[in-house]
């Protein structure tokens, strides 16, 4: 393939790295002819429209029957799409335009679709407003059937291996078909972590990047493409060097069945007998199965923001309770750590955006927001205390920066607990309460915080960003984002020490935890648990089983004294080459 390499940055929606060939699925506006007709042609145009609608309905029904047996949800959505296509309002309004305005069927139906989608666009409720997307998918299908330009199951059904789907957006019908294919990765121009494509990609355990603006115009079918769903980057037509790096990264995620089986059945214990819990990070309950299949020993971080998205009002106690119970239905008696709401409210509840904050990362969010918004926080706490009767649940508060915040949260928990008792609702008392350590001030007073809670979990992403004063998304300073800066290593040490002295466990749940290159550091520091995205679990478990705690302690001593990130990186490279030469394909040094 010719063409210059190009990079796109989007949102990493599903972990992993893949290299493959582009398959363009262009679902943007269909081109169609517009012309006026003679009055006596109206009957013919109406008949064409009727046939196109019948065809669309039967296609959607066929897709539903052939592809959508997995889960009721998809099945029901496709059923609703078939009903949208055969909706009388759509047909009657279109035929009225054909008859009265003397226009052809394509023109008429597109006008009606535009009218309906605009009406949805004016609704104030975010969920109903987004249904215009569904209306668009239907309109597009009918138009393609009218003009005979349909890309369909027959084509999507025969994709070669190593196919990377590149699209503006994917309809439920597309994803239903693609879910059965050996698609290597997904890239779309629109969407977020909770869009349809993202959820399907995560449940299939293939990498995906969404929000890669402009890629549809730059990519050609058959182009080589590299998708890093962990970083949210896409490289179109990568250079041979980039491909080499990518392959190594990809191998980490594409482990053999044997290794995955091993990860499932063997504990993560070092050669000299130190055991570390390796757990999974999830965003929706359906991801639990993937974590367990990859050998995860529990859920170390359940990000509950998904529960809050796409609604106008915060979820109620029952919503929380039922969702958390669903997780326990799957994990059994393994431990689940649930983090309370970690965003600012105005982004989520569809309220009018307030004055935007100049520095949202340090703004009104997470625990700061929750303490001031009992309508958001209290139902969540109530749901958590009730779900804790179902299994070992731990509550984790994000972004705690001061002892007072912890004290205030405890007061609220006590109040909610008393209310549950008065209401006679079954719940658990004294549910373990811990905090995310992701603000440097919390790290500095780790000794005081350790006296006041039951566990720590270190969120390395934010902690590094705040500690090093580096915005990772700013290309001019991202070279200063140095996970092995001695300040980082020493800070980690200063968190673990006081925690262990007071008998509380420490886990790491940031991106670093899922990178086997840093595993020796965490073993040396004495971390009790590492929690990561499902895809990374087998490699990290394998790494732990190859290491000796004794060696890692020694390495850690050197890292604490290193003269900088590069020196420290070389120390780990030398250490891994010397101590675990057999598994060099499992890791690569960060650049």
């Amino acid at each position: 393939m010719t063409g210059r390499p190009r990079a796109f940055h989007g949102i990493g929606a599903s972990q992993g790295v893949a290299i493959g060939r582009v398959y363009l699925l262009d679902r943007r506006r269909v081109r169609f002819p517009r012309y006026h007709i003679q009055p006596d042609q109206a009957a013919y145009e109406t008949e064409r429209l009727e046939q196109a609608i019948t065809k669309s309905v039967s296609q959607l029904e066929l897709i539903r029957e052939r592809f959508a047996d997995r889960g009721q949800e998809h099945h029901a959505i496709l059923e609703a799409h078939a009903m949208l296509a055969r909706d009388r309002a759509l047909f009657d309004q279109s035929t009225a335009l054909i008859r009265d305005e003397h226009i052809n069927a394509e023109w008429a139906v597109s006008q009606v679709i535009d009218r309906i989608r605009d009406a949805f666009g004016r609704l104030s409720d975010a969920y109903f407003r987004e249904r215009r997307g569904d209306v668009d998918f239907i309109g597009e299908r009918i138009l393609r059937n009218l003009t005979g330009q349909l890309v369909e199951a027959s084509e999507l059904d025969r994709l070669g291996e190593g196919t990377v789907i590149v699209a503006h957006d994917l309809s439920p019908a597309d994803t239903a078909i693609l879910a059965r294919q050996r698609v290597t990765a997904f890239v779309t121009e629109v969407g977020g972590k909770t869009s349809h494509t993202s959820i399907v990609a995560r449940s299939l355990d293939v990498p995906a990047v969404v929000g890669a603006h402009g890629i549809l115009d730059a990519a050609g079918s058959g182009d080589l493409i590299m998708v890093d769903g962990s970083q949210g980057t896409v490289l179109l037509r990568p250079t041979p060097n980039q491909v080499d790096r990518g392959r190594k990264l990809a191998e980490r995620y594409q482990l053999s069945n044997l290794e995955i089986l091993e990860a499932k059945s063997l504990p993560a214990a070092t050669l000299d007998g130190t055991t570390i819990v390796v757990a999974g990070n999830i965003e929706v309950p359906t991801e639990v199965a993937t974590v367990l299949n990859r050998g995860g020993e529990g859920i170390g971080l359940y990000r509950t923001e998904f529960l809050f998205l796409g609604r106008d009002t915060p979820p109620g106690e029952e919503d929380h309770y039922r969702t958390y119970c669903r997780i326990f239905d799957e994990v059994g008696d393994r431990e689940v750590t649930i983090r309370t709401f970690d965003l600012g409210g105005e982004k989520v509840f569809g309220a009018m955006p307030r004055e935007s904050e100049p520095n949202p990362a340090m703004g009104f969010r997470a625990i700061r927001f929750c303490l001031k918004n009992p309508a958001v926080f209290e139902p969540q706490i109530a749901g958590l205390l009730r779900a804790a009767t179902r299994g070992p649940l731990r509550i984790m508060l994000p972004m705690v920066a001061a002892l007072e915040e912890l004290a205030m949260a405890k007061e609220i928990i006590a109040r909610v607990e008393a209310q549950l008792t008065r209401d006679g609702k079954e719940h658990k008392k004294d549910v373990p309460l811990g905090i995310m350590i992701e603000v440097p001030s919390a790290a500095v007073i780790a000794d005081q915080l350790a006296e006041a809670c039951d566990f720590f979990s270190i969120g390395t992403n934010d902690l590094l960003q705040f500690l090093l004063a580096v915005d990772r998304t700013n290309e001019r300073v991202d070279y200063l984002y140095q996970p092995l800066h001695p300040a980082v290593v020493r800070t980690l040490r200063s968190i673990v020490g006081p925690a262990h002295a007071r008998g509380i466990p420490v886990s790491v749940c940031g991106e670093m935890a899922g990178n086997p290159f840093y595993t020796p550091l965490f073993v040396g520091l004495g971390m009790d648990q590492l929690s990561m995205n499902a895809g990374a679990i087998p490699a990290v478990k394998r790494m732990i089983r190859e290491l000796k705690k004794e060696d890692c302690d020694e390495l850690c001593g050197h890292l604490l004294q290193s003269k900088g990130h590069q020196v420290a990186t070389d120390l780990i490279v030398d250490f891994l080459n010397a101590k675990v030469p057999g598994i060099s394909r499992l890791w690569s040094a960060p650049t």
């Binding site: 029901a76 959505i77 059923e79 609703a80 009903m83 949208l84 909706d87 009388r88 309002a89 759509l90 309906i116 009406a119 949805f120 609704l123 104030s124 409720d125 969920y127 109903f128 249904r131 569904d134 209306v135 106008d312 009002t313 979820p315 109620g316 919503d319």
Partner: protein, 91 residues
């Protein structure tokens, strides 16, 4: 004289009359000969059209008036109102 029936109900399920719920409602309404319509906040729409039902944007806590006109109007209203009252779960 054709029969008429009407009943006020509350949307109780969390997602409101969302895509799947609207689909289920239209399926139920379409089983009857009577004309079925829904009214919410002054909007009156055809209960056998999924697009129209969705356009009501009836979320949790909304009050909806179910109306029918025709021979089997009472049965139609009972069935549709019942579905909404059950939060769109199967009987």
């Amino acid at each position: 004289m054709s029969h008429r029936a009407r009943k006020k109900v509350l949307v109780i399920n969390d997602l409101g009359m969302h895509l799947r719920a609207a689909g289920a409602l239209v399926q139920v309404a379409s089983q009857f000969k009577a004309e079925v319509s829904l009214e919410h906040k002054g909007n009156k729409v055809n209960g056998k059209s999924i697009m129209s039902v969705l356009s009501l944007a009836a979320s949790k806590g909304c009050e909806v008036l179910v109306m029918a006109e025709g021979d089997d109007a009472e049965q139609a209203v009972d069935a549709v109102a019942g579905l909404i009252e059950r939060g769109f779960s199967a009987t």
